[in-house]
Amino acid sequence: MQKLKMFLRLTLKSFKERKSRIAIAFFAIVVGIGVITSLFSVYYDINLKMSKEMRAYGANMILTPDSSNQQDQNNKMLSMNKFNQVVSKFSDQNLIGVRPNLYGIIELQQNSVKGVFSNMRPAVMVGTWFDQVEKVNPYWKIEGELPVNREVDDEIVLGKTVAEKLGYSVGEKIKMKLSDSYQVKEFIVAAVIESGSDADNQVFVNLKTAQKLLNKDNKISAAYLSVLNYENDPALLKGIENDIIGINLNSIKKIASSESKILDKIKSLMYLVVIIILLSTLLCVSTTMMTIVTERKEEIGLKKSLGADNKNVIIEFLTEAAILGGFGGLLGYGIGYLGAQIIGQSVFGSFISFRLPIIPFAFFLSVFVACLASIIPVRLVIDVDPAVVLKGE
């Protein structure tokens, strides 16, 4: 008991008497562990965050009717029922967006200034959900405003090429005729979109409107899905295909395979960067600790001359280092977590998730490094002859 009391007093005194040095070591540990914590937190989240960013490329999955038995023309369509079944297989978290499409060929009236004679030109009409455009086709440049209400049935969205070649702009009226009937319907141009793909040559109306016009109630031709985290589970797509008969669910290889390639690169880049920073930071922290211990040569000499053996001295130094490392590690974790949030907010606009294992990791790493960094110099000088050290130079 007496011994323990003395030991505690020694440790406490050593902190009290050497405030500035302790502060430096503590500061080094806190900032070092802070940097390591924040980078590790970001690293563990990078896959999630970047795959979300990758959704800027839009849909990565396509749902089509099973084309293997094509005898029946009806099979080329997909019922809304099956579509809903497929969509329900994905969790809300993972499903960024889904856009069903119904295609049909219609004729549009060329806009003529004189209005005397204008011919009809064929074009592709797509019935779709406009509210999903910003999720599934975030890269579309939209001029005007999309009719996001799925019930609107008198508004049309033109692809850029259609608008240019037929001479329409936002707000004008356009006449549409179905290819196999004489029914003519008038729409208001709500928006013009530009994508640089086939969509530029198409016109878009609400899905319900298209189903009614084409007489294909509750049918769609295809659906585009933008889904997170399915790469890890290749059986998922096959499973859904087996569960729901008559569908084909494929990943869009162009996007999916390139995406996983880029994600792998980014992940390994971050991994190497984090490892290098980790090593350098640990080295910086330990050199600081080492200088602080080295200058206590005389103290060690004094303790030994008073009768302490090597073991006592080492235990005392280790305890000091462990206390310093423990508190430094915890505080460093707190600061590092805040740092991670700053990075998360400014780069991804969202919080970096809290990961429990990083706390013990930061704590033990910090204690371990502090102990290691103080034990090496202590071992180097511990066998010194007290007389030589104390005599001075």
Partner: protein, 430 residues
């Protein structure tokens, strides 16, 4: 005397400075590695993002409106359809930003019949070794452009037989065609039926509409259809700079720019300026930006640059901290020396000068070692992640040295001030 003191410090006290130099070396290597990687990350990632395929499509200027559903063409037959001249294609590699043109592939499409089944047939370059007007040779074609295409069997090679074809997976399954099979295609060319025997070289897996088409060398299709030297569409993959305000304004209305702005825009690798230059170099074409690729690319590049910048800043904080804390302890333990110097008559200024020079030298040596080590780290990162070395930027060396010295000086300034305030007698008494 001053120099002698400095010299002495380094010849005798070198061992004690080793730790400080070591710390600065590690700190500076971290700075160097992170700065090099950050400065190069844009270029490296930009190249990687090319695996998403072409970001520019070039088509002939025309009034017609294509009617296509999922790649199947319903456009009514038209007379005087416009084409791009094949000999003009290589001009793409002659524009101002020619080094940013990574790859391109021309296309010509027709509808063919095989065993009474209609199928789109596409003529293109697979991996053609093309000579551009400067005399240089490059490999262009879909093999590199569409990195996600997989072929079961063999790719069609440059200079191989002209009668080979790649069959899209879906069509191959429908017709039961295997690699090595021979089949006959019939093409209706303005009423005359032309047939040709082709060999299936491979089955094409692409995960998109290309799976229900067949692909043949461009000149093969040109000679079958009689459209010699004609091309319908060109897909170009170019390294581009993410769009900014200027690029958006130029796109909306190039005439609204002042001459100076126009020059800046023209001489920056924006998609819009590259398209503008391609339109200049090939007569009668319009270029379209594939927004899916360009917008996604821009977003990823911006995010990654920002992320790396922030990571670099944390790395700089950590290395700065390492350097300055070790300098603080070094100065603290030399309080006695400072006391002695003052006791024998050194002014505060002289002590400061002595320490400044010494610390700067330590910082310089550590910084130089650190620069070397940091470049090794950067090379390792580059090789591991991107397969190519990170390019060594000269800017990094002075930046690292200056930062190492400044951080070392700042770290030692406050303990030095403390030590100078102390009474020599008190310090020396021990």
């Amino acid at each position: 005397m001053f120099f002698r003191m400095i010299r002495r410090l380094f010849s005798r006290g070198l061992k004690s400075k080793l730790l400080a130099i070591l710390a600065i070396t590690f700190g500076a290597s971290l700075m160097t590695a992170m700065l090099s990687v950050t400065l190069d990350i844009g270029d490296k990632l930009n190249k990687e993002l090319k695996s998403f395929g072409s970001n520019i499509v070039i088509v002939p200027e025309s009034k017609s409106l294509p009617v296509k559903i999922d790649g199947v063409d319903f456009t009514p037959l038209e007379k005087n359809k416009k084409y791009i001249d094949e000999k003009d294609i290589t001009n793409i590699k002659m524009i101002f930003w020619r080094h940013n043109i990574v790859d391109f592939a021309p296309y010509l499409t027709a509808t063919a019949e095989i065993n009474n089944k209609q199928v789109p047939i596409v003529g293109t370059w697979f991996k053609n070794n093309v000579k551009i007007p400067t005399g240089e040779r490059f490999d262009f074609g879909v093999k590199k452009l569409k990195s996600w295409w997989e072929v079961e069997g063999d790719w069609i090679t440059n200079g191989g037989s002209k009668d080979e074809a790649l069959i899209g997976l879906k069509f191959a399954e429908k017709m039961n065609i295997k690699p090595g099979d021979q089949f006959e295609v019939t093409i209706n060319n303005n009423g005359t039926l032309l047939s040709k025997k082709l060999t299936a070289k491979g089955i094409l897996k692409t995960g998109d509409q290309a799976e229900s088409k067949i692909y043949v060398p461009l000149d093969t299709l040109q000679s079958i259809t009689g459209l010699e030297n004609k091309v319908e569409e060109i897909e170009v993959s170019a390294l581009t700079t993410p769009e900014n305000k200027l690029a958006r304004r130029a796109k909306a209305d190039p005439d609204s720019l002042t001459t100076a702005e126009f020059d800046t825009w023209y001489c920056t690798a924006y998609v819009s300026s590259i398209i503008y230059q391609i339109e200049e170099s090939i007569p009668g074409v319009v270029g379209k930006e594939v927004r899916q690729i360009t917008q996604g690319e821009g977003q990823i590049l911006n995010k990654m640059s920002l992320l790396m910048l922030l990571v670099t800043i944390t790395a700089l904080i950590s290395s700065g901290l390492g350097i300055s804390s070790i300098m603080t302890t070094r100065v603290l333990e030399r309080q006695q020396e400072i006391g002695l110097l003052k006791a024998i008559g050194a002014s505060n200024l002289a002590v400061i000068a002595l320490f400044t020079v010494e610390i700067s030298l330590v910082g310089l040596i550590g910084g130089l070692f650190g620069y070397g080590l940091g470049n090794i780290f950067a090379t390792i990162i580059g090789q591991q992640v991107f397969g190519t070395a990170i390019s060594v930027k000269l800017l990094v060396l002075p930046l690292t040295l200056v930062m190492a010295i400044i951080v070392a000086l700042v770290g030692s300034s406050s303990p030095l001030r403390m030590a100078l305030k102390l009474d020599p007698a008190e310090v020396l008494r021990g």
